[in-house]
């Protein structure tokens, strides 16, 4: 249990000289160690910090100048990236872009000011050390009072721990891209579909999928993992304590290599108060989907003296994370069954132009259920609460991935995210950069504009400009795009209230826009945060030209990634 309400100096992080009244300066020590990870289903050697995976929760304060000494006890090079933190680029921790990494036996000292507050995380940016366990959480206490209230808070850090090492997984995916896809369609599915939709439609359907080199079951290209919450598997049941009536802030962090989670707490509503560390106008939901590398802070209030299950189904429904909120240790609540796996549709292929209904069975199902809530004739009296539910604009129409709350209630959409206090003045972008997210599933190549990282020139931005990124997802997978060093202002159509994020999830068959005020000099990484997609080439270096110190374009070789 990692209770972090009080600013306790964690055993692992030593705060030195934190007592001065004006400038707080903390020193923290991290060791990068080989560790054993026990998921309750299997044990596996991996990598951790200060002897454990996940590593410690680093608790910083806005305005603090931190010094972090990272000692590499591995027999290979390592690195730590502070995910979501705004800092000088040489402190960003990406080998070959920010610095040269940390060699075995070496101690690297990070020094940077903490200029923000909220929930973030850190992880290795070398090889597949992050999927192997090298991650931890960061919480930053704000200088000013927060726009919400809670009695206690917990980090709820998720991951998808796989029995295979990251490098073995990558080798297997390169050889056989569906190596880890256990949910393939069988011959019997073909006949039942033919029965339902007619033989010719079914044959046509299968041929379309074949020419896309994809399958409707390609929601998760990595299955067979055990989801963990704060390092604990479903049976080990991570538990956070509360007293009935208290407000509890849960800081969800998705540190998975590959897995999106649909999170709910049956019996409780969650009020979302922050996304990717930044406060948003509070929105009460029944369920939310957290993309890889994203964070969401929610406040829950349990009035009853009983246990509640934190339930996080993977988006492809191949596994679930489970934890408990309880008044006393040892209590538990029923663990729901997982729902049916979604199937991708023609819409997710970007091919649904309205004339393919026959092939679009699972998508149709979704559509008819959302139609029900738009049935004005069935409304009575003042109950307009179900009126005009907008379709989720961040999924393709009739996509098989459109999330629906298990209890029929409210599922968080990006469209609900509005900044509590906008960081930037709203202004028109100076130019647009189109980034087509591209790939070839059969060869497990992932790229941007058809070019993988090794073959690509850096994207050059000018200091002081505001660029508008147009993400066009031409693949059938969902990509969480992470820009280092600068915020991504996600266009949700809310103008000045558009929220700022560090990771923008782009669903199949959709185009998503985000804008960035180019206010950080130097060079930065920009990539899909699915570990194996980043490694396969969906990655770019960003070079910011100009700026006060004009330090851009350092002669560092490119090559190593994720």
């Amino acid at each position: 249990m990692r209770r972090i309400f009080t600013r306790v100096c964690a055993a692992v992080a030593t705060i030195v000289a934190a007592t001065s009244s004006v400038v707080v300066a903390g020193t923290y020590n991290l060791t990068v160690d080989p560790v054993e990870i026990d998921t309750g289903e299997f044990k596996k050697t991996g990598i951790g910090y200060n002897g454990a995976s996940p590593g410690p929760v680093l608790k910083f304060t806005e305005g603090e100048d931190v010094t972090i000494n990272v000692t590499n006890n591995l027999d290979e090079a390592t690195s730590i990236h502070w995910h979501g933190l705004i800092l000088p680029y040489k402190m960003d921790g990406v080998p070959d872009i920010s610095y040269s990494g940390i060699e075995p036996g070496e101690t690297f000292t990070y020094k940077f000011p903490i200029v923000q507050s909220g929930t973030y995380w850190f992880h290795s940016h070398s090889g597949f050390q992050e999927p192997d366990g090298a991650y931890g959480a960061i919480t930053i206490a704000p200088k000013k009072r927060e726009p919400f209230r809670y009695d206690r808070d917990y980090v709820v850090q998720l991951t998808d721990k796989h029995p295979h090492s990251g490098s073995r997984i990558m080798r297997n995916l390169k050889m056989i891209p569906d190596y880890y896809n256990r949910k393939q369609q069988k011959l019997s599915d073909f006949f039942s579909d033919a029965d339902e939709n007619g033989m010719s439609a079914t044959v046509e359907d299968r041929m379309s999928w074949g020419s896309m080199r994809m399958m409707p079951t390609d929601v998760e290209d990595l299955q067979g993992f055990t989801p963990l919450i704060n390092g604990k598997g479903p049976n080990q049941n991570w538990t956070g304590l509360f007293i009935a009536g208290e407000r509890v802030r849960l800081r969800f962090i998705n540190s998975s290599a590959m897995t999106y989670f649909d999170i709910r707490i049956p019996g409780l509503k969650m009020t979302v108060v922050a996304a990717d560390g930044n406060n948003v106008q509070p929105v009460k939901v029944d369920e939310l989907r957290i993309g890889v590398a994203e964070t969401y802070d929610v406040i829950v209030r349990a009035e009853e003296d009983k246990a509640y299950t934190i339930f996080g189904e993977s988006m492809g429904r191949s596994a679930f994370a489970r934890g408990t909120l309880a008044p006393r240790l040892g209590m538990s609540a029923p663990v729901p069954e997982m729902r049916k796996s979604p199937l991708l549709t023609m819409a997710d292929m970007g091919m649904d132009h309205g004339n393919m209904e026959g092939m679009d069975h699972s998508g149709m199902k979704m559509n008819s259920s959302s139609m029900k809530s738009m049935d004005h004739a069935s409304m009575k009296g003042m109950d307009h609460s179900k009126m005009q539910k907008p379709e989720n604009p961040f999924y393709a129409k009739r996509s098989g991935l459109i999330p629906v709350a298990e209890n029929g209630g409210k599922f968080l959409s990006y469209a609900d995210l509005k900044a509590q206090k906008p960081l930037y003045k709203d202004r028109a972008a100076t130019r647009e950069i189109e980034l087509r997210l591209t790939g070839n599933m059969e060869r497990y190549i992932w790229s941007i504009n058809g070019v993988k990282y090794d073959d690509a020139d850096p994207i050059k931005l000018q200091y002081g400009e505001r660029v508008r990124f147009k993400f066009v997802n031409e693949t059938m997978m969902t990509h969480p795009m992470h820009l280092h060093g600068m915020w991504s202002i996600l266009d949700v159509g809310a103008g000045k209230w558009d929220p700022i994020k560090h990771t923008i999830s782009v669903a199949p068959g959709t185009t998503v826009f985000s804008e960035t005020e180019v206010d950080a000099e130097g060079q930065w990484a920009f990539h899909c945060h699915l570990s194996y997609h980043a490694s396969a080439g969906m990655f770019r270096k960003i070079v910011v030209e100009g700026g006060p110190e004009n330090t851009a374009e350092q002669p560092i070789k490119k090559g190593a990634l994720q």
């Binding site: 509005k418 509590q420 206090k421």
Partner: protein, 185 residues
């Protein structure tokens, strides 16, 4: 009795002249003609200026009150001076938790219909006929809904020691903690 002014709003008038001078049962945050299906609770009543024994200043920020709890005596009549010092629309509403929960549904409806935006109130839309003669007027004597920088007053007689909260029922605000307890001495 029509001249008992229970709330004087500087800024925008939200139709807050009220007709009641004795303790009454309020349905939760009734819009227009009120709801009769909600359990009635005695939460006190609008008071008279002449009976005011104390003034409590309430500042509304994003998204919390200062102070976050108040102390009153049974029978006491309090003048609340309420200022919205935040950048969003906020409400000050005296009621029970159940009443607030009901009222939150109505405020959600106001937001979904564009009557209420994060930082402004579209007053002209409040008169919109929602069917059955109901409107989205926000005119209960136990509450005020204020745009940023606006202020208002409520005179309230705490005639009964019910378990009361003051709360902002703008969607999401109550749930993120914008409420406070009324303690009876």
């Amino acid at each position: 009795m029509k001249n008992t002014i229970v709330s004087r709003i500087s800024g925008i008038t939200l139709a807050t002249f009220v007709i009641l001078a004795s303790p009454v049962a309020f349905a939760s945050g009734s819009h227009g003609d009120g709801h009769d299906d909600v359990k009635k609770t005695t939460i006190g009543a609008p008071g008279k200026f002449a009976d005011v024994s104390r003034t409590i200043e309430i500042k509304m920020y994003d998204n919390y009150y200062s102070p976050e709890k108040i102390q009153v005596k049974k029978g006491e009549t309090v003048l609340f001076k309420i200022t919205n010092a935040g950048e969003f629309v906020h409400e000050f509403n005296i009621g029970t938790a159940a009443m607030h929960a009901e009222h939150q549904k109505e405020m959600m409806m106001m937001m979904e219909h564009g009557v209420l935006e994060a930082d402004k109130i579209n007053h002209s839309m409040m008169k919109m006929d929602m069917g059955s003669g109901k409107t989205m007027d926000h005119n209960d004597p136990n509450s005020v809904l204020l745009e940023p920088t606006k202020s208002a007053e409520i005179i309230w007689n705490f005639s009964d020691t019910a378990k009361l909260e003051f709360a902002c029922n703008v969607p999401g605000h109550y749930d993120s903690g914008m409420m406070g307890d009324v303690h009876f001495n």
